[in-house]
């Protein structure tokens, strides 16, 4: 069994995921209680009810991401969101904050809990803490472990392990990266967004098109170069005498070729990143991964990635290039 967990930023995306072979979809409320707090994205309660019905009728599970970190001044919003999640009867709530998990476990003992990638758990001792104290059933691992390390965690983990298989790549341990708030005052932890659009500026200059985040120059695109969205860690910076992508290139994670090893390692679910992407993205990526997982389960020894799968995924990838990320040691 390998569950395909797909992103749903809105109802059309949810339907695209469900219709094209997702086993589960994940979504969030329309506010800063989840880590894709973007304008025009996510679900109010009515839309969420519709989405849950649509998925359920087709045998697809629904997970609710409630994976940011409330502070005392706004704690009640998270508490309300947890209560709503329980009311809606989602199949699992994905959370990161210890306080949120504690509240959910105490108040809604029947609400299944998953530890979000934002919980930064990279080892089985950490997973044991969440299992013992909140009864989590599953954890999503940060995108920092090599494949042998993932395998080792799975072998010793008290809970199911889900990993990211495709989509935008976080280079840093999720939940512990505050580069975004250093430049803008808003981080995934506090605001539910990295490198928020509200702080982005585009400027034509004699040196080229400049993109800034919080006033900091992230990228300068020369003639013939395309300027991507200024995600802080994907910018070009100067270190010593060199100007280069000092942290990471604009690239996406794609682990399609690792699929047999991931299944063999005992990973139970593959997560596709991209709640902020279009329904077309969700449809294409879900289709490819559905075919790949089915092919791999049918015949793991004969499994090979198909050229048409890879080209379809490249088309929707950031910077049109993909990487195995930390799963492959040379990347590190």
């Amino acid at each position: 069994m390998m569950e395909l967990v797909c992103p749903a930023g809105n109802l059309p995306s949810l339907k695209a995921a469900v219709d094209n072979g997702a086993n589960a979809v994940y979504l969030g409320f329309k506010d800063d209680t989840n880590a894709r707090h973007f304008a025009g994205l996510n679900f109010d309660k009515a839309k969420m009810t519709q989405g849950i019905d649509y998925a359920r009728q087709r045998g697809v599970r629904v997970f609710l991401a409630l994976n940011t970190y409330p502070q005392p001044a706004n704690w009640s919003r998270w508490q309300f969101a947890v209560d709503q999640a329980a009311d809606l009867g989602v199949d699992a709530m994905i959370a990161a904050d210890l306080g949120v998990l504690d509240y959910a476990a105490e108040r809604h003992p029947n609400l299944p809990l998953h530890l979000s990638v934002q919980g930064s758990a990279t080892n089985y001792e950490a997973l044991s803490f969440y299992r013992e104290n909140f009864g989590i059933r599953r954890a999503v691992l940060p995108r920092v472990l090599s494949l042998p390390q993932v395998k080792h965690v799975v072998e010793n983990s008290p809970v199911e392990i889900e990993i990211f298989g495709f989509g935008s790549l976080c280079v840093m341990v999720e939940g512990r990266c505050i580069l975004s708030s250093y430049a803008t005052g808003r981080s995934p932890n506090t605001f539910g967004a990295c490198s928020p659009a509200s702080h982005v500026e585009w400027r034509e200059t004699p040196q080229g098109l400049e993109t800034r985040l919080g006033g900091v120059l992230i990228e300068r695109a020369g003639q013939g170069e395309s300027a991507g969205y200024p995600t802080l860690c994907k910018g070009r910076f100067q270190v010593g005498a060199n100007t280069y992508h000092a942290i990471e290139e604009p690239t996406s994670l794609n682990t399609l070729e690792l699929l047999p090893q991931l299944i063999e390692a005992g990973v139970v679910a593959i997560k596709i990143e991209g709640r902020q992407r279009s329904p077309v993205y969700v449809k294409q990526v879900t289709q490819v991964w559905r075919q790949a997982i089915d092919a791999c389960i049918r015949n793991p020894d004969g499994y090979q990635t198909r050229a048409d799968w890879m080209s379809q995924l490249d088309k929707v990838s950031e910077g049109s290039q993909t990487t195995l990320g930390a799963y492959s040691r040379p990347w590190q």
């Binding site: 409330p70 001044a73 758990a121 990279t122 512990r176 505050i178 430049a183 919080g214």
Partner: protein, 304 residues
Amino acid sequence: MSAKPKLSVGPILYYWDRDKIFDFYREIAQSAADIVYLGETVCAKRTLIRLEEWFEIADTLAAAGKEVVLSSMALLEADSELKRLKRICENDRYWVEANDMGAVNLMQGRPFVSGHSVNVYNERTLKLLAQKGMRRWVLPVELSHETLAAMQAQRPEGVETEVFAYGRLPLAYSARCFTARAHNLPKDDCQYRCLDYPDGLTLSAQDDTRFLALNGIQTQSAQTFNLLPELDRLVELKVDVLRISPQSNRTLQIIDIFNRAINGELDAAEGAAQLSRWMPVGPCDGYWFGDAGMIEHARNRIAG
């Protein structure tokens, strides 16, 4: 009058050579610091000081009257790192600063400090960790004095609050080593380039604005966070401990300036002016005011 905050020396976040580390702690033993956090927290490959030697340094500092806390790694990946963590957590002489939930798990039921890389963002989290044995917590560096005030109002009994008060801010951790990358080396063959950057390797935007500092797998702020100008407020908020994060030069003088300001022998603004001359790039304090971390509020306020 409110109680004076104690001073702590954070773990050395950089990779210094052996002699420099031993010299540093010989000096710290004589300093005004009350608490010393020891050990490697960033990269498992930094092994110039073996674990037994860290224990020896701890014993020396304890004999000199310092409270010693052993700090754990923030990012645990390999099994060897977990084994090392278990050895630290099994010690029965010193408290442990848990910098990851794995360490919190191992310390459950015994006294521990939760480090700034453990996300304690609200009072419910604070209460939960206190029940598990936490005796002191370090405010995560992106949180503001307003959030701290709300947390302090509901702080569980017997829990001390520590604030990162001086140093380049730890902002992120990765599987990738950015110092090795800067030298076009793979992490597995990094040649210990961190030894060449005792305050981290400064990264600038393409317009030469200095922005971040690369410290192996950790990314820091280029600017040095400094809360000395906020000393009155820190005292008012009943912060128990102010942390000074070591830098390669003048850490002793920095401790001395904080100590004199705490004892009312030095004006905080005057002290801050002195400190800014010793920073690798310059000061920042935005997070404390709920702003972008890189902003320098203290000077803007004076100028504005």
